[in-house]
């Protein structure tokens, strides 16, 4: 039997990048991945790609900051499958800039998607997980949320917030057998980081003991473990996947 056979997993922001990699890997291990993202074409293409491998995925279009949208989609998913086993809060954005020049709108946008979106999806899914007395929630934070980063005050605050949210929800839901953990990726090669100048990438790589960027698969592999029964005694933790960048 596959490790996540028959599990129903929702992954937000999964049309591309790390989220897609997580969805692909969960499906490979037997789960049905429910891909949630903003753009219909991108979602359809992502679902198709998993389908082509003979694994299960379906897609929904939603903005994680819209609680009505999220609630009604989760309801539909629950109706269709009778349960929701796994939620991966991965949708995230950056709007970088020095604090002295940061627009309030850029602060708000990042806080809304990264932190409030995670709160909304957690609240809406726990309705079902509480009832079934089981569930796994994984929140994608960032090492920047632990160490801070010049030029990313909004992003760092949102990711630090996710870590605190993870601990609080782990405590609130432990009695219902719902485990909540955070994953803090370091420097991962995706479209988000492809935007960066080569010089910045080189500088970063020099600071990483394993002296290379990570891949989306490195994150997905940890998700498989944390979502499985093998991690049944782990909750409230933030696990770094960063090549040793910070210790």
């Amino acid at each position: 039997m596959k490790r996540l056979e028959d599990k129903v997993a929702i992954i937000t922001g999964a049309a591309r990048g790390i989220g897609f990699s997580i969805a692909e890997m969960l499906s490979k291990h037997g789960a049905t991945s429910i891909i949630i993202d903003l753009n219909k074409e991108a979602v359809d293409a992502a679902v198709q790609q998993i389908d082509d491998l003979g694994n299960r995925a379906i897609g929904f279009i939603a903005d994680v900051t819209n609680s009505d949208e999220v609630a009604s989609i989760f309801k539909e998913i629950h109706k269709k499958f009778g349960k929701i086993d796994i939620l991966i809060n991965n949708a995230g954005i950056t709007k970088d800039g020095l604090l002295m020049k940061m627009k309030e709108s850029d602060w708000d946008a990042v806080m809304n998607v990264n932190l409030k979106g995670t709160f909304i999806c957690t609240q809406k899914v726990c309705r079902y997980m509480m009832k079934s007395r089981s569930g796994v929630i994984l929140n994608i934070a960032s090492v920047v949320g632990i160490m801070g980063n010049a030029g990313q005050a909004n992003y760092a605050a949102s990711k630090g917030g996710i870590i605190a949210l993870t601990k609080s929800s782990a405590k609130e839901f432990a009695s219902r057998n719902i485990r909540v953990n955070a994953i803090a990726p370091g420097f991962i090669k995706t479209e988000m980081t492809d935007k960066l100048p080569q010089e910045v990438i080189d500088n970063y790589s020099d600071a990483i003991p394993l002296s290379r960027m990570g891949t989306a698969k490195d994150i997905a592999n940890l998700c498989i473990f944390l979502a499985s029964e093998e991690a049944s005694y782990i909750t409230g933790q933030t696990i770094q996947v960063d090549g040793g960048l910070i210790m």
Partner: protein, 77 residues
């Protein structure tokens, strides 16, 4: 089945208490051993069973069996 019976059954099922304990005066938390998450779940059960939305402000006041029954009877009449 009337509202009172339905509510009583839901409470017995949700909180795992004896039917005799579910008196009108019984407080969910103090007498029926509910924790705060149980009370959230109970409200969700009422919403489902009776197909209504219970506002958070209203839910806060529903601390005893009697108050819940009274509230639901009013909402559903």
């Amino acid at each position: 089945m009337d509202i009172k019976t339905k509510v009583t059954n839901l409470i017995v099922e949700e909180l795992g208490v004896e039917i005799g304990e579910v008196t009108l005066e019984a407080s969910f938390i103090e007498d029926l051993g509910a924790d705060s998450l149980d009370t959230v779940e109970l409200i969700m059960k009422f919403e489902e069973e009776f197909d209504i939305d219970i506002a958070d402000d209203d839910a806060e006041g529903l601390t005893t069996v009697g108050k819940a029954i009274e509230y639901l009877e009013k909402q559903l009449s």
